[in-house]
């Protein structure tokens, strides 16, 4: 009986104490008609040894040599110490820190995470994590509606240059409360969201404006102008950011004249492996005045009976377990383990490590763009300053070219043509500090060949 420690003697003794003859008697309150039969579609038990071999074979089948996809999930170096510590039993197998005295490790880690994320984004307060960046954007939209008492429209302006899955997810989650999301176009040459595109909303009741920096194309938006437009028009401003970029880019708290109101994003780039899409770790920061509208857990520092400093969950009256249907969100379990990994990552990398990571990623992407641009049939699709992603245009459909690259064990980028048909055959590529000049050359060579092959086909 895997993971069940009972000996036959134990069972006998325990049944005797309970006063029943067999275990089945304990289920006598369940109507007999409901009792399940054998679960025939579940395979019989496998030992750890057997399952280990199966998983190793499956993992091996999925290996890939070089990855140039970004599009919301980024491959960065992860110091070995990060997961060596994160997987310690005391972190890995602990529950949410409701019993503060028995959870000071987790609580202090959250406090440190809140400090780092708040400072990176230039905001006053952070929560303890959200599920991921996309759902955090949905929560931010809902929060904006709560926080912006004067606005009655529940109308959120959403640039089309924002990550398409983030936009979809926000619609699904915030749609339940009848928020409306209205699209703001981008400039097809620069790949930027021009302030002019907002003109048609001038003077209207807009609850919030979303700004992604860098935007989905990796292009840097004119965040000051956009933020100021939002505030001038009485809207709150929600920033969606790549947190690595904040080592070198102006934090949302300093955008425009007043800074934005809510910042969200995904801290996956901070020590969290790509792992097929999750678990990642969304984050959210805001101004102190909005803290009671913020969803998710928050940790505060306080003192104990003796006056010694300690940490505890606070402002719980925002949460579902206290406020129930009036809570700021239904979120309960969030992404504690990944929050821990991100905190350790940031502690190890420090300001200098993060700055170098951001700069090197930016430089490598520039190098990549230059290398690919030299190929026949490839051109840069959008102008403008970029962080570490770029949209390139191919002279033929992207799908088959990516398949050719996959055959060469290269994950070549994200095919953005379905989401942005107006841009043609566009491929979003990304290079981070993990890529060397040789890697970039290898990719360029492979792409060149793949294009040749698909041209010949």
């Amino acid at each position: 009986m895997a993971f069940i420690p009972h000996t036959d003697d134990d069972v006998r003794a325990m049944l005797a104490v309970i006063g029943v003859d067999d275990v089945d008697a304990l289920f006598d309150e369940i109507p007999a008609s409901l009792r399940a039969g054998a679960l025939t579609r579940i395979p019989p038990a496998a030992s750890e040894m057997e399952i280990g071999r199966l998983m190793s074979a499956r993992a091996a089948a999925d290996s890939c040599e070089l990855n140039f996809i970004g599009a919301g999930a980024y491959e960065h170096h992860i110091p070995a110490a990060v997961w060596a510590i994160t997987t310690r039993g005391e972190i890995y197998s602990a529950y949410t820190p409701y019993q503060a005295e028995a959870s000071q490790g987790t609580l202090q880690t959250i406090y440190e995470f809140q400090t780092m994320i708040a400072s990176l984004t230039g905001m006053a307060v952070s929560n303890a994590s959200m599920y991921d960046g996309a759902s955090a954007l949905a929560e931010a939209s809902l929060m904006a509606v709560r926080a912006h008492r004067r606005s009655k429209s529940a109308r959120i302006l959403m640039p089309r240059a924002v990550n398409p899955t983030y936009r979809k997810c926000a619609r699904v989650i915030a749609g339940g409360q009848n928020l409306s999301f209205e699209e703001v176009p981008f400039d097809a040459a620069a790949g930027q969201t021009p302030v002019a595109a907002l003109a048609r909303f001038d003077g209207q009741d807009v609850t919030a404006l979303v700004i992604q920096q860098p935007n989905f194309f990796g292009v840097l938006e004119d965040v000051d102008a956009l933020t100021d437009w939002g505030h001038r028009n009485g809207a709150l401003v929600i920033a969606v950011v790549n947190p690595t970029s904040l080592a070198i880019l102006k934090p949302p708290g300093e955008w425009g004249e007043k800074g934005v109101d809510i910042v969200v994003g995904d801290a996956q780039p901070f020590g969290v492996p790509l792992s097929s899409g999750g678990p990642y770790v969304g984050f959210m920061t805001t101004r102190m005045e909005h803290v009671r509208q913020m969803p998710g857990r928050i940790v505060g520092r306080t003192v104990d009976l003796d006056g010694r400093p300690g940490y505890t969950l606070t402002l719980q009256a925002r949460e579902q377990h206290i406020r129930r249907s009036k809570a700021t969100s239904n979120i309960c379990t969030n992404q504690g383990l990944l929050m821990t990994a991100a905190t350790i990552y940031l502690a190890i990398m420090g300001p200098q490590g993060l700055e170098r990571t951001a700069s090197a990623s930016m430089a490598r992407t520039a190098e990549l763009v230059a290398a690919l641009g030299r190929l026949k049939g490839v051109e840069l699709a959008l102008g403008g300053a970029r962080f570490h992603e770029a949209l390139i245009r191919l002279d033929r459909p992207v799908g088959p070219v990516l398949e050719e690259l996959a055959r060469r064990r290269i994950a070549g980028g994200f095919d953005a043509s379905a989401d942005y048909p107006e841009l043609g055959n566009v491929l979003l590529v990304c290079a981070t500090e993990t890529k060397t000049s040789e890697d970039i050359a290898a990719y360029a060579a492979a792409l060149g060949e793949s294009l040749r092959v698909s041209r010949a086909a």
Binding site: M1, A2, F3, M14, L26, F27, E29, I30, L34, R35, A36, L39, R41, I42, P43, A45, S47, M55, A59, D62, N67, H77, I85, T87, Y95, Q99, A100, A102, T106, E112, M116, S119, L120, A124, G133, V172, L249, K250, S276, P279, G300, T302, V303, D304, L305, D306, Q320, R324, S325, T333, G336, L337, T340, A347, G353, A358, S359, A360, M362, R364
Partner: protein, 493 residues
């Protein structure tokens, strides 16, 4: 280990207090490559990140970790949370380098190994839940609930049945249930439970009607008892045109014994981080897979893994045009799902059934021992399921020893506290869930500790009130925490 010289120093200084300007972990620095950020967009002041050596970081977080209770170090009878052993094998094989390195948007041809696991996981979860369709993407129980209620809403709307905007929840429901209903734009209608812990059928009959979108139930309920009238409830709600939502947080109790689908539920979420033993990580990540009966099949959240012959692929809006849509940027908490998959394979068919049996055996044994020791069950006439409630009402009244006092003092004995003050309707309650992975000896030790504390409550109540004594901090001032918000570190002035 605190320095005896500084009794009131923090148990561990913050990482910021340990920071020194100019220090760094050199082996982790990427090459210094220049990058040209337009001046107007450039960051001007560095972020407040600590500047420490790699050893300092390792030591700091290792020491912090030692300040936690956890399954790997303590018995954790936390009701409604199913804190059972998280097998290390699940972690090791879910963290194979190739799985970790795979980009979520990577070519499907380089993801067949991973997708095969996900497909089989869907199938196994359908089998244990008795459902017809399964989606894995919800990132925790609450998101599974959201998906479920959103599907219920989409179902009614799809039929043009637009007036159904009420979700019924029992008053003992977990907070996420009403919060989820509200988040989906529904009105929440609460119904009481009776003295035996069953749902008050008469009250239910009074509230169901044309506005009923559905009902959200946990069965066994959060009171630690099986909802005996489930068939009648299902009949009432279905007859009124509503659907039944199953909050699967308590599935461990009935795993392999009763299937929610067979009880009449139309939609279910399962907390894989409970029943299927993926670790809690100090507050996540979770995974809240949602299963549905035929009626809700078209509405499942995307993506879902499909199979074309020997190949697996993601199904998206093109395949499921009526889907409620996406709940996350990619496909949910893949790594958690892998752990659950491995766990289910190791448990296997028969093991599933045994989980429910032994979780129930442990809970009933513990209840019997507590009863013998003079503690008061909240529902003395009922069987325990995988958990049960003690009420400390009498102790609180007679000795001033509250459930919270017991909880805090237990920590000194090396036991995590049970869930306290939930469900709200039982006064001074302790919700106790031992799980199937604990030994009889661990349960016996826990009873003895409770007995010792009860004795202390009589003999030395002040000592009890001051607990805990052996942890890095004593009882914390929560009121002060909320009043004088200190949410981020600032340098000493």
């Amino acid at each position: 280990m605190n320095s005896p010289a500084s009794a009131l120093a923090p148990a561990e200084a913050t990482i910021f207090d340990q920071s020194r300007h100019g220090r760094h972990a050199a082996a982790q620095l990427p090459p210094a490559l220049g990058a040209e950020v337009p001046a107007a967009l450039r960051r001007r002041t560095p972020p407040l990140l600590p500047e420490v050596s790699e050893l300092q970081a390792v030591r700091h977080f290792t020491r912090l970790s030692q300040m936690n209770f956890s399954i790997d170090t303590q018995f954790y009878p936390l009701g409604s949370c199913t804190m059972k052993y998280n097998p290390r094998g699940c972690n090791q094989y879910a963290m194979l380098p190739e799985f970790l390195a795979r980009h979520p948007l990577g070519p499907e041809s380089q993801g067949q190994g991973f997708l095969a696991c996900m497909y089989e996981l869907q199938e196994m979860l359908k089998e244990v839940s008795g459902m017809q369709g399964m989606a894995l993407s919800p990132m925790a129980g609450a998101q599974g609930e959201f998906a479920g209620v959103a599907m219920i809403r989409a179902y009614h709307r799809g039929r043009g049945d637009l007036a159904r905007d009420e979700i019924i929840v029992p008053e003992a429901a977990h907070g996420t249930n009403p919060a989820t209903a509200a988040m989906c734009g529904m009105k929440v209608v609460e119904i009481p439970v009776d003295a035996q812990g069953d749902c008050d059928l008469a009250a239910l009959a009074r509230v169901v009607g044309p506005a009923t979108a559905g009902i959200m139930l946990t069965n066994p309920s959060t009171l630690g008892v099986f909802e005996r009238t489930i068939a009648s409830i299902a009949g009432l709600v279905h007859d009124a045109g509503g659907l039944l939502y199953y909050d699967g947080a308590n599935l461990n109790a009935i795993l392999g014994k009763v299937r929610p689908g067979d009880m009449g539920f139309d939609v279910i979420h399962m907390n894989l981080h409970k029943t299927f033993s993926t670790p809690h990580g100090g507050g996540g990540p979770g995974a809240g897979a949602v299963g549905v009966g035929v009626r809700l099949l078209p509405f499942l959240p995307i993506p879902v893994v499909g199979r074309d012959g020997e190949r697996f692929r993601w199904l998206d809006e093109r395949d499921l045009p009526q889907s409620i849509g996406r709940l996350s940027a990619f496909m949910g908490n893949a790594g958690v799902l892998l752990r659950a998959y491995i766990y289910m394979r190791m448990i296997g068919r028969d093991g599933m059934q045994r989980i429910g049996e032994f979780a129930t055996l442990n809970a009933n044994y513990l209840l019997a021992r507590f009863r013998q020791a003079g503690f008061d069950p909240a529902y003395p006439q009922r069987r325990a399921t995988h958990e049960f409630i003690l009420t400390m009402k009498r102790e609180a009244r007679e000795q001033g020893a509250t459930a919270m006092d017991f909880a805090k003092r237990l920590l000194d004995f090396g036991y995590h506290a049970p869930t306290t003050y939930f469900p709200l309707l039982v006064p001074e309650c302790l919700l106790i869930e031992p799980t199937e992975t604990e030994t009889k000896e661990a349960l016996d030790g826990f009873v003895e500790a409770m007995v010792a504390i009860a004795r202390e409550a009589a003999e030395d109540p002040a000592r009890l009130k001051g607990a805990p004594y052996t942890l890095p901090v004593r009882r914390l001032d929560d009121v002060r925490a909320a009043k004088h918000l200190d949410l981020t570190w600032t340098p000493a002035p």
